[in-house]
């Protein structure tokens, strides 16, 4: 089943109408990639976010086997290249869709909601304050380590551990929020919700992802600092 409504050209080999799949519905020959096809369509999936990882794995394995260049060693160069193209997209698509965060980021980018480094995205002020304070603590800890002040280091280390736990908890909270937003998005697709509602849901997911990226950086920063501690 294909979810892509964009017309692909007829089969290059037999002229059969496009079926939207990897292979022609008429002669079974491998087809060129259609530019509009996305990663979800590549796996024959609707653009739903709460996807079943085991199902994705199965689809990935089945497709890697079917599209593998080894199957095309005796085919024309044209077909061999199509197999290479599709195999390489398969791997990209799998890598992106397998991870919930990159999956959502991909969906939002595809719908123009998220553009790296272009759209201005503000974080909530209270989070910024918190981020700032934590960064200051991290900096103090580094300075204390450099100056070899063991007592100060230990005290700061304790504070950081607490902060780390706090941010870990926050990360779990955000992930739960994201999972809930995924289910809402899928439900909206199921009842063919209008553009407005989809846009609203995507905007909210974008906001959650922004908060997540901040918190993830903080968790990474704290972990890095604590791991780097000689005797923390």
């Amino acid at each position: 089943m294909s979810v892509s409504s964009v017309a692909s050209p007829a089969c290059w080999n037999c002229g059969a109408p496009p079926g939207g799949g990897h292979f022609c519905i008429g002669c079974g020959k491998i087809q060129p990639l259609a530019a509009a096809d996305g990663y979800f369509a590549f796996f024959g999936l609707p653009e739903k976010l709460d996807l079943d990882a085991a199902d994705l794995d199965r689809r990935y394995l089945a497709l890697s086997w079917k599209l593998h260049p080894d199957n095309f060693v005796r085919a024309e160069e044209f077909e061999r290249n199509l197999s290479l193209d599709r195999s390489s997209v398969l791997n990209d698509a799998y890598r992106v869709l397998r991870d919930p965060v990159s999956r959502a980021e991909y969906l939002l980018a595809r719908h123009g909601v998220r553009k790296e480094g272009q759209t201005k995205q503000q974080a909530p002020p209270e989070l910024l304050e918190e981020v700032f304070e934590l960064n200051e603590s991290l900096e103090e800890l580094r300075a204390a380590r450099l100056s070899g002040d063991a007592a100060e280091s230990a005290a700061l280390g304790k504070r950081l551990e607490a902060a780390g736990r706090n941010f870990q908890a926050k990360l779990a909270e955000v992930d739960a929020e994201l999972a809930a937003a995924f289910r809402e998005w899928d439900a909206a697709l199921d009842r063919s919700a209008g553009e407005d509602e989809r846009a609203r849901l995507m905007a909210r997911m974008n906001e959650i992802l922004n908060r997540r990226s901040y918190i993830r950086n903080l968790v990474a920063g704290v972990t890095h600092e604590l791991d780097g501690a000689p005797d923390a």
Partner: protein, 142 residues
């Protein structure tokens, strides 16, 4: 990617690093961040209430070299300007001065936002002060 000499200079010798009391009515604080890269930037200004001139500016930025350089430059530029004048500083001016590559343009946007946020905060305080002052005179009349 190589940083320009000016970015490196600001990064190694950042100007006006520090903080000012947030509750000072003459101080405006702008706290902005770029969630995508995890940068966070705080820019503060102290404004002379008579002349509206920004007499001092401080910043503290956690982020990449370009973010630090952009905010450092921003504090240099706002100092000595009136509040209204400082609002005219554009991120493109910062991009040009620091020769920022396209991937680092968002750092300059952040610095412009920080200036605007600091001025906005200061203006809010002035509004609040006036409201308080008029409330005080109103209650004095009663």
């Amino acid at each position: 990617m190589a940083y320009s000499d000016k970015v490196i200079d600001h990064y190694n010798n950042p100007r006006n690093v520090g903080s000012m009391p947030k509750d000072d009515p003459k101080v405006g604080t702008g706290m902005v961040g770029a969630p995508e890269c995890g940068d966070v930037m705080r820019l503060q200004i102290r404004v002379n209430p008579e002349t509206q001139v920004i007499e001092d500016a401080k910043f503290k930025t956690f982020g990449c070299g370009s973010a630090i350089a952009s905010s450092s430059l921003a504090t240099e530029w706002v100092k000595g300007r009136t509040v209204e004048d400082a609002l005219h500083i554009k991120n493109t001016d910062i991009v040009r001065e620091l020769s920022l590559p396209p991937v680092k343009i968002h750092c300059s946007v952040l610095a412009e936002d920080a200036i605007k946020a600091a001025i906005g905060d200061w203006k809010r305080k002035q509004g609040a002060d006036e409201a308080q002052a008029s409330a005080a005179t109103a209650s004095a009349k009663e």
